[in-house]
Amino acid sequence: MEFFLDNFWVIAALPLFASAFIAMFARSLRRNAWIVGAASMGVALLWSLAVLVAVAGHGEAGEAAANYLTTPVRHLVWADWAPFGPYRISLGLMVDNLTALMLVVVTLVSFAVQVYSQGYFEPSERRFTRFYAAINLFTLGMLGLVLADNLFLLLISWEIMGLCSYLLIGHWYEQEWPRYGQIKAFLTTRVGDIGLMLGIWMIFMVTRDLTWEGLAVKIPEAVQNPATAAMLALAAFFIFTGAIGKSAQFPLHVWLPDAMAGPTPGSAIIHAATMVAAGVYLVARSFMIFGNVPEWVLITVAFVGSFTSLFAASIATLRHDIKEVLAYSTISQLGYMIMAMGVGGWAAGNFHMVTHAFFKALLFLAAGSVIAAHHHNQLLHKMGGLRKKMPVTFITWMVGYLALVGFPGFSGFFSKDEVLLAAYTWQPEALAGVPWVAKLPFTMALITAFLTAYYMTRATYLAFFGEPRDQELYEHAHESPKVMTIPLVLLAIPAALSGWFWAALPYHFTHAEWMKSLEHFLHLPGLEHSVAFAQEATVTGMATTAGLLGIFVGWYLYAKVKPETRAAWIEAAKPLYTLIRNKYYVDEFYEMAIIRTTQAAARMIAWFDDHVVDGLVNLVGDIGVWFAEASAWFDRNVIDVLVVMWADISRAFGSVFRRLSTGYVQQYMVTFAAAVVACVVLFQVFS
């Protein structure tokens, strides 16, 4: 095991090798590229597992390197990578507990996706190798991100992932939507990146260091000075904008739904499991900054996260495209993680990141399976009853579904619970005077839990239950090949079970040293939590209730209520309340009222998203174009004209002087004499 730990860099080297190999021998590999990719990723996965075990064997991440940083277990540094004057940007890779865990997550998802994709793509697919090269490059980026021992390398990996995201969204670039989506994704995240870079510059200015270890020492010193503390707070805020962009938080979330234009396996790994979580990872990793600077930064983080989660979940309730539902769901869940970071639930946030990676990747792949079986139809209202046709897909989907809605026992239950608990116990000093404000994130998160359950139930029902709505599509639907279902199963296992690591069962029951409770495993030095059982019970109860309620509502609305009635309700709810009031069943009346309100809110938020946020983005774009044209105009018409005018003026003067030369020699002489006389006279006058 120590051998694997010592050579952990191999994990990153494997996808690099695979990517380069596939790109170079694309022509001869063709369809076989998947073998290269999957094989290398399989090795990487095993290697990561070995590393994880070895790291776990090193015990609890007890001794802190400093505030908010665990001691890396292994650390490789290429010190002389980029000497910029007296400061050297080193290229370092390190492994600590969080990293070890993330390695497994990333390699597992990547492995599953690479196996799955081979079945997903049609035989006529032209850019198969391109997809594999990009996926492997992406995996390299993500691994680099989690292994990076400094902000700079993190940024590089970050951008490489951005590139791959761009490439994968635009996979079918003959069509309009992917071309639109890829640019939107790249640019929107780029806006956040600028913030991130700015944060890095500010931090460098204060500390002259970018390594985590260095920062963990220098930031606490630097915040002693109020001025630098303020600047660092600003820096932290800017770094957070990077996370907002990458993790699709409000208000930069708009790109993620459009990122669904890419092939579904790519979406699964990039836009669900890993890359979008990089923002969360960034906040988690740089907690020595967030945790030390003035509190308002973390409060901002908490509110942005919780608001996003609610906001996105409400939108998701009305989406018709299965992938879009999942996309909004992803945004919403990312909001959870961000909120967890903001409220100090560092371990909870990371935990949710891990479980979410599993179940959301699973959901996406299952959705992909459905879509592939359905001739690339993604619309929910054309599906229905698929559970009979695609049993494996259905079961795995259900695992993911239960995990997402937080059904007790599934991974999502534990992680969501922890997140909510952290939000519940959150008591920032700055908000001590207004406790209800401090409870807002929790409240919003709880509503989100309900909404999540609702829309997932709705989607599940529409896709798998009931009668087929489009008979022709239904007839052609079939279960996916093994190469697709096996990865689903592979992912379903952790999606279902990974939560139990948190539950400390292994720890409490066996006291086994090899695997501690994840809570302890992910313990961040300097961030202490003590939670009373009563609180824990309350939160669990509330969350479970909310989830179950959501499930029920969804189930009821779609399974019990006839579509015509539902339509009628919606129709009726539209103009006036009075019609709804006149409905026969009272409880249904309540339910209806809730739906109506939710729908109205969702519509409003959707409208806001479509008009205000998108409008703002478009406006910015328009201003950019206008400005661009203005400056081009300026170039053409002012600067150039000045040059030309100058030439014209010269010529005009030339013509004037030329007129002096009339050909009459006596006029010349008059000029001559006049000039001489003028000289003489002027000199007499002036001297």
């Binding site: 009459y664 006596q666 006029q667 006279v681 007499q684």
Partner: protein, 177 residues
């Protein structure tokens, strides 16, 4: 010494007469229509100025003035006029340019203004009284200076004349067909 006594001195009277002759004949150069007449008046003007040179005790200059100017140059000009039939009559007034510039008396006016201006400068310079010369330029002194100290200019002048001759030949000779 009052202005009147100055003017009534013999030298002054002689000078004024000579100057008037010079000016008058120069003015006639302007006004006479025939170019040959103008040339003759030029000769007269030169002669008058030669008289002034005599007044200034520059006998040698006066002599060569008569010889070269009155004699050689005038003759040459007259010859050229006669040979080439350039002696046609033409009123300058008919020509181009502002007419007032061509008016005859204006010549005197402008000359007068120039002279007045120069005299103003001389006066402003407060030119001293004349210094009695200790020696006068005798022909002997001039001749010996010409062949000793001024030998180079002398030679140059000779080449100048040679070139003028050759140049005149080039410019006027008929083609040796």
């Amino acid at each position: 010494m009052s202005a009147l006594t100055l003017l009534t001195r013999g030298e002054s009277i002689a000078f004024l007469i000579l100057a008037l002759v010079a000016l008058g004949s120069t003015y006639k150069m302007v006004t006479s229509r025939l170019i040959t007449h103008a040339a003759l008046f030029m000769a007269l003007s030169f002669t008058a100025v030669a008289g002034v040179f005599l007044l200034l005790e520059a006998e040698f200059v006066a002599a060569i003035q008569i010889l070269i100017y009155t004699g050689a140059i005038t003759t040459m000009i007259l010859f050229a006029i006669m040979l080439s039939g350039l002696a046609e009559i033409r009123k300058d007034r008919e020509t181009r340019g502002p007419l007032w510039m061509k008016s005859d008396p204006l010549v005197l006016v402008v000359g007068g203004i120039f002279a007045a201006f120069m005299c103003y400068i001389y006066a402003a310079a407060n030119l001293p009284e004349a210094i009695t010369p200790e020696s006068l330029p005798t022909v002997k002194a001039i001749g010996s200076a010409l062949f000793t100290k001024y030998v180079i200019p002398f030679e140059v002048a000779s080449i100048l004349l040679l070139i003028a001759m050759v140049g005149a030949i080039i410019l006027t000779a008929k083609e040796a067909e």
